[in-house]
């Protein structure tokens, strides 16, 4: 990891939310940081090229359209890659992770509606031969203010 300038640190930490809804939002950010608009734009482009910034945009909560769930499976280690490939084969699946637990495969399924969601889960069970835990979101206890980065 390289060293980040004070300007980069402040950009990354202070503007994860509250993007100005004005004609020239980057100029507004620049003013707050005491730099030129072009500096903000160039810095953001560089951070994006480096992969540190994914984008400047909106983050929506899940479940906004269609139906979604978090699913988990307990798969023998030797078969994990094969089962993960089966799971990945569904377009409705994203965020498929191995986690260190008896339930070692965790993935998010987003489908057009609840019927399709259940169909995908059933097909994954059939194809893999292992049961799937269906853990849909019931309640969100969280205000997303972005993630505070520590620079020490």
């Amino acid at each position: 990891m390289r060293q980040y300038s004070k300007l980069e640190q402040r950009l990354l930490n202070e503007f994860q939310q509250g993007m100005p809804l004005t004609s020239t939002p980057y100029a507004d950010i620049a003013r707050q940081l005491g730099v030129y608009e072009t500096t903000v734009l160039e810095t953001l482009k560089r951070l994006q090229t480096e992969g540190v910034v994914s984008r400047v945009g909106a983050v929506f909560r899940p479940n906004r359209v269609g139906a979604s769930t978090l699913a988990a499976m307990a798969v023998p280690a030797a078969e994990l890659e094969d089962v993960a490939a089966i799971v990945n084969g569904f377009d409705e699946v994203n965020h498929n992770y191995e986690r260190e637990h008896r339930f070692n495969l965790w993935f998010v399924v987003v489908a057009s509606d609840e019927d399709r969601l259940q169909q995908v889960l059933a097909e994954i069970e059939q194809c893999s031969g292992y049961p799937v835990l269906d853990l849909p979101l019931l309640n969100e206890h969280f205000i997303d203010l972005g993630f505070e980065l520590k620079w020490t």
Partner: protein, 173 residues
């Protein structure tokens, strides 16, 4: 399930993919949507007011900044305490998600899920200890499920509804 106007859907897709890095990004979007800059800004404001946008700004990739450890902490909270505890856990900036999900007994006893990022595992463990202390969870069963391999992570795009079948939709990271 809410139905958005085609204009709002298109706008949601664009702002989910990201604003252009130009001096007047909303004007650039307006050109794309064949409307005025003002309509774009009003549209975004309208979408924000409905409350399903979590935030609007710079989306940072933690891993690239050295936050390599990711622990999903799962808690078995008595139902009567789950709201209060969820609020307590969700208030800390190192907690990036805090969701209530169903127990599935007997296999799965945990009903509260929180995601914690840290530079390494010991940092995550320390943060969990801090939460236990601050939220009074000494008597609560919990486990930390550290992520290992990533088999699939779709980008943060937000396809139109018509693309949901068959393409599926990506969530934020």
């Amino acid at each position: 399930m809410r139905r958005d106007s085609p204009f709002d859907e298109a706008l949601i897709e664009i702002i989910s993919r990201g604003l252009p890095l130009v001096s007047r990004p909303y004007a650039a979007i307006a050109e794309q949507l064949d409307c005025s800059e003002r309509e774009v800004m009003e549209g975004i404001n309208r979408i924000m007011m409905r409350g399903d946008m979590k935030r609007f700004g710079i989306v940072v990739r933690h891993r690239k900044l050295g936050y390599r450890a990711n622990g999903m902490v799962v808690w078995d909270i008595p139902d009567a305490r789950v709201n209060e505890t969820g609020h307590c856990i969700g208030q800390y900036s190192f907690v990036t998600l805090c969701y209530q999900r169903p127990r599935i007994l007997p296999q799965w006893p945990y009903n509260l899920f929180s995601m914690i990022h840290g530079r390494d595992r010991s940092a995550v463990i320390k943060q969990v200890e801090f939460i236990v202390e601050q939220c009074g969870l000494h008597d609560i069963d919990h486990e930390i499920l550290f992520s290992n391999r990533c088999f699939k992570q779709r980008g943060a795009s937000y396809p139109r509804r018509c693309e949901l079948e068959p393409r599926g939709m990506a969530l934020n990271e």
